[in-house]
Symmetry: C2
Subunit: 440 residues, 2 copies
């Protein structure tokens, strides 16, 4: 049982106290952290010692993504959300094959890993392809196979058989030791009947699995549903149908009122906050400070690469606080520490992984190295300033090395397990085919 | 008279029609563009031919910055604007020497050039240091020496002698051929008497020089002034005192009403829009689409690195449209093309440089090369998608080479004219000294 020791100039643990350790040592044994602390307090180690220098911190967690949409990145820019979905995205996605999804996910996983994202929570179709590509690349995956009203019966059969297929998929693929956990991905209450959402939630509860659903992304999406139910809010309707009773991750959650936030808190619903996507698609501003002050766990997320269009989660670390600040006209509305916690430990808990996201003994060894030798990190006159630099100026370009479960998957800025050139060529030719076949 | 020819896979000209040229050639003669077009249409060339590949476009223009504030980057995060200025920024800045400013500017200029920013419009004190550092680094500079109420009499004498000193500074340093133009930088109408602003504006008009002033950055800053003048708006008061009669660049301009925008349009005032700074300091959302639809020229700007904290203007290219979209809940409020124009040709005009910012015959040869061989630029199924990728995913890390006035100043991601390591070490030690001496 070999222990690997990694030495860094500084470790940002993202633990409860947001501890920052100078001259840090981190020991990794069987994929988990067996020691983290100052080098001077480290126990004897007879395994390999790696002198990393720089800064180490937990890998980032992307709490809501449709990563295979790399295949349709940049298409239909500037349309309102529903037009963008119905006129461009869904026609192109309707042409996708499992092989397309495999390559789209492979490219996206490489982009995320290169940027220091070590976990991603995916909602998409062709879930076997997503698992295969993620496993190849080495990223930790929460896979919630999508359930949408417009499922192609040829590929997926009825909605009932789709639920049964996801249960079987869970039996086959759910294995945290292999970096894969499985949940359910019903699209939304405006796309699926409430009763069906309730059935899916019950199936998820039976497996203690995550239910991952879009909620209140845009202001208008719930109008029809809510007026059909005497004006009760979408969140209220979801609660009434038992959809919020298990482990629930509600993506976006932009248009919540105080009562909705209270309902989330009581049901321990988590939120995936997508500030860049919400800005680009003009969806609105989620009330993140209000949610977090009520104890709701909020992760950060890129959403799909077609609504961002970058999978570098460092942009969300910067723009979640910036959006909270400008929308409240309060520069203290969210601090750099909050953003870094949401992007790591809080996001990991939000997607159901409680042993990932912080540098603490016993946690899985998902961590990244940051090169501090960069003008944007200068000067540092106190440790608060280093954290500020990390949040405001940190980006994928500063990430040099990445480990997932103790395995190194990025070294010196190169993905070790994906042929990125090949993935780029495949996504280019497949993206052109999707545009041509769909006539968009 | 040698002509250098540069060949690229694609050129984004940022000209009036936003022309995109495949297999492009750009000829540079005596620092200006003597040909731009398809390689098949290029005239004979007996000078050196450089096979760049990739994408070429105009260098970016930072239309409002206080770049030597690299020395105080990251300090005092989370405070409201006025507290942040009075409790942290001004005490630290009060300790700065000309030598500090030289090093702060040198580091910041290197960061900008590395990110593809070829022009910057600076408002700061110790203007000789700013010119020296900019000239050393090779960046094009519009220097508007700052005039603030709290000038140290020891360093700067009276306000009147400060104006005379700037006139003399203009005589000595203003030389577009040497990449330096000079204007005046009165801080704001809330910091300086309106009559004095009018005098400074008259001095600027005498020299046909730019007047660069902060206007309506925060909601509260004008309350005292406006209530002392029967509720007339700050913009109205500036107009009444002749401050808007010459060539005027109004930074921020967040809190304008329709009448203020009309006043800007009538006086041909330009605006420097700082979306990231305005978000970070919780200042508010400038009404950029409304201004531009009224014909006002708007540049993009980082503001000082202490309120951003990154000098990579690509973030403004992404977040200017995103902020416009989310604040209007309209995904068509601003397009990628608009952002790229504001960051180049429109920004250059806003700061008074009319022969910079687009790839057109006769313009000064400030251009950059982008490496398109990156996953975030895949796929491209039409040229609109390439422009979308550039705006949404482009960043300093994609910039490989930079030319200013035909001189190459960045090659293969390295600044050719700044010792960046030395600048980092100097800013680190000087930043610590400023924190210690000011007790902040």
């Amino acid at each position: 049982m070999t222990t690997n020791r990694y030495l860094a100039d500084i470790a940002v643990t993202c633990d409860q106290d947001f501890s920052v350790i100078s001259n840090a040592a981190i020991d990794v044994t069987q994929g988990r952290i067996s020691f983290i602390g100052p080098q001077s307090e480290a126990p004897p180690c007879d395994g390999p010692v790696h002198h990393l220098g720089g800064l180490i911190m937990p890998g980032l967690v992307n709490s809501h993504a449709h990563t295979p949409m790399t295949l349709v990145r940049g298409a239909g820019d500037g349309l309102p959300l529903l037009d963008w979905l119905t006129q461009v995205m869904w026609p192109r996605e309707g042409e996708m094959t499992p092989e397309d999804v495999l390559w789209g996910m492979r490219l996206g996983a490489s982009e995320m890993l290169r940027a220091g994202v070590t976990s991603t929570c995916e909602m998409y179709l062709f879930e076997e392809s997503v698992v295969e590509a993620s496993t190849d690349a080495g990223i930790r995956l929460v896979m919630t196979p999508g359930i949408i009203s417009a499922l192609h019966a040829d590929d997926f059969g009825s909605t009932e058989s789709r639920i049964a297929a996801i249960v079987a998929f869970h039996q086959h693929y759910h294995d945290p030791e292999q970096r894969v956990t499985v949940g359910f991905g019903p699209h939304s209450a405006y796309d699926l009947p409430l009763e069906l959402c309730g059935e899916i939630a019950a199936a998820a509860r039976d497996l203690d699995a995550l239910l991952h659903i879009h909620v209140c992304e845009t202001q208008d999406e719930g109008i029809e549903l809510e007026s059909a139910h005497e004006g009760r809010s979408t969140v209220q309707l979801l609660a009434e149908h038992g959809v919020l009773d298990g482990r629930v991750l509600a993506a976006h959650s932009v248009w919540l009122d105080d009562a909705d936030i209270e309902t989330y808190a009581q049901h321990e619903v988590s939120v995936a906050h997508c500030p860049v996507s919400n800005m680009k698609l003009a969806s609105g501003v989620a009330r993140v400070p209000a949610m977090r002050s009520r104890g709701i766990e909020v992760g950060l997320a890129t959403d799909g690469p077609a609504s961002n269009d970058d999978l570098d989660l460092w942009q969300e670390i910067k723009f979640a606080p910036l959006l909270a600040r400008v929308s409240t006209l309060d520069a203290s509305a969210m601090r750099p520490q909050d953003a870094l916690r949401m992007a790591t430990v809080e996001g990991s808990r939000a997607i159901g992984n409680f042993d990932v996201g912080s540098l603490e003994r016993g946690q899985r060894a998902d961590f990244i190295r940051i090169n501090l030798d960069d003008p944007t990190f200068v000067p540092v006159t106190c440790s608060d300033e280093l954290i500020a630099h990390l949040a405001w100026s940190g980006s994928g370009r500063h990430v040099t090395d990445v480990w997932v479960g103790g395995e190194q998957v990025v070294a010196d800025r190169q993905c070790l397990k994906v042929d990125v050139k090949q993935a780029m060529a495949e996504v280019q030719s497949r993206g052109v085919r999707l545009a041509e076949k769909s006539g968009t």
